[in-house]
Amino acid sequence: MNLLKSDKFIKEVLSYIKFPFDREDIKKELEAHILDKMEYYIDDRGIDKITAEELTLRDMGDPKEIGIALNKEHNFILGWIYKITNAIVTIFLIITVFTAGISLISTIFSGNPAKHISKEDIVYDIKVNEKVKIDDRVIKFKNVIYEKNGDMNIVYEYYDTKLLGMGWSLGHIGTIKDNLGNEYFEGSGSSSGGIITKGVETMNDFSSEADTLIIEYDMYNRYYKVEIPLKVGDSNE
């Protein structure tokens, strides 16, 4: 405002406001009021600008009294606690969104763990979609892919139902057998993921005559058995 006396008045009021961050708002509120009152004197009462300002400031009252009373309502300590907690919450929210985002993104983008198998090598790819649960872990067997070179791939994923825990990854999906009594040992395996871990276990030299793949987990009193019927004979896609 280019009204010197009003500026001085407001400045004096503000000098009693100890918490600095509230001063600007108070300044604006008082300015608006002063301008409104001056407008009244000038427009409605036909008074000149200089006198209008004097009358207005007289009407406003004692700046010290106003400042002290306002300061009571703008507690210094509460103001700082507010500012600090706001800042911490903001930082926290950014961190939370960031870490949750990373988990989500790695889950979405981890894609198909069996994508390295090219289509020409596949004898058959059977959708399984069987779900088992041990303790808090849910394991889904998605599909099995049998390759021309005799590799049998079991594609699976799992997640922990107690989301908050960061637990041990699943060591072992179980013993792999076929209906002919053969037992297979993991040739290779891999898994990755954020919230949902996706993995594939590959067995070498899987029998082409077996018609059922059996996954059996029996450890420390936890048990599940999944039997997967296989296609025997012709090479489908």
Binding site: I88, L93, R137
Partner: protein
């Protein structure tokens, strides 16, 4: 909302976010961490027979069904606890007078086991450097645990009865 209410709201948000962020993998007590660790690896729940401190964590000696284990729990962020390692254990073979197993990480060794022959009243561990550790009072009547630090490996384990006869020995 008044400023006071906003501050209260902020504090509540901070508490909730703190719980979500910091309690991932972190527990208030060693037992809570131990139980969570066991469940996560699909073992137990064991019965705890003895807890022993080491610098930075605790060993938790347990029995579960036909197995024994000695889980390690680590201290983190000064006040809290987190998973360690060697959560699962070995199956008890009652045919043998004594079953034991051992492990070693970062210059810290532990040997633990269970006594199946009631006549055994003393278990001795001889280290490579000549030190002897022994135990005569067993946990839950029949379990023992030796822990030590340093570079010295295991020499052998011997078990005696009250007359001093050797009922079990195993060389490493």
């Amino acid at each position: 909302m008044s400023r006071k209410k906003k501050v209260v709201r902020n504090i509540i948000i901070l508490i909730v976010l703190s719980i979500l962020t910091f309690t991932r993998g972190i527990y208030l007590t060693p037992i809570a961490a131990h139980e969570a660790s066991e469940r996560s690896i699909h073992y137990g729940p064991s019965k705890v027979v003895h807890i022993e401190d080491f610098d930075g964590g605790k060993y938790i000696l347990c029995k579960y069904d036909k197995w024994i284990s000695c889980n390690t729990i680590n201290r983190t962020m000064y006040f809290f606890w987190t998973f360690g390692n060697q959560v699962t254990g070995i199956e008890v073979d009652k045919e043998k007078p004594l079953n034991f197993t051992w492990s070693h990480s970062n210059d810290r060794y532990k040997i633990y086991g269970i006594i199946n022959d009631n006549n055994i009243n003393r278990v001795e561990l001889h280290l490579e450097d000549g030190t002897t550790l022994s135990q005569t009072k067993f946990y839950d009547d029949n379990m023992f645990l030796f822990t030590w630090e340093g570079e010295s490996g295991i020499g052998d384990v011997k078990a005696y009865d009250s007359q001093g006869n050797i009922l079990f020995e195993d060389y490493r």
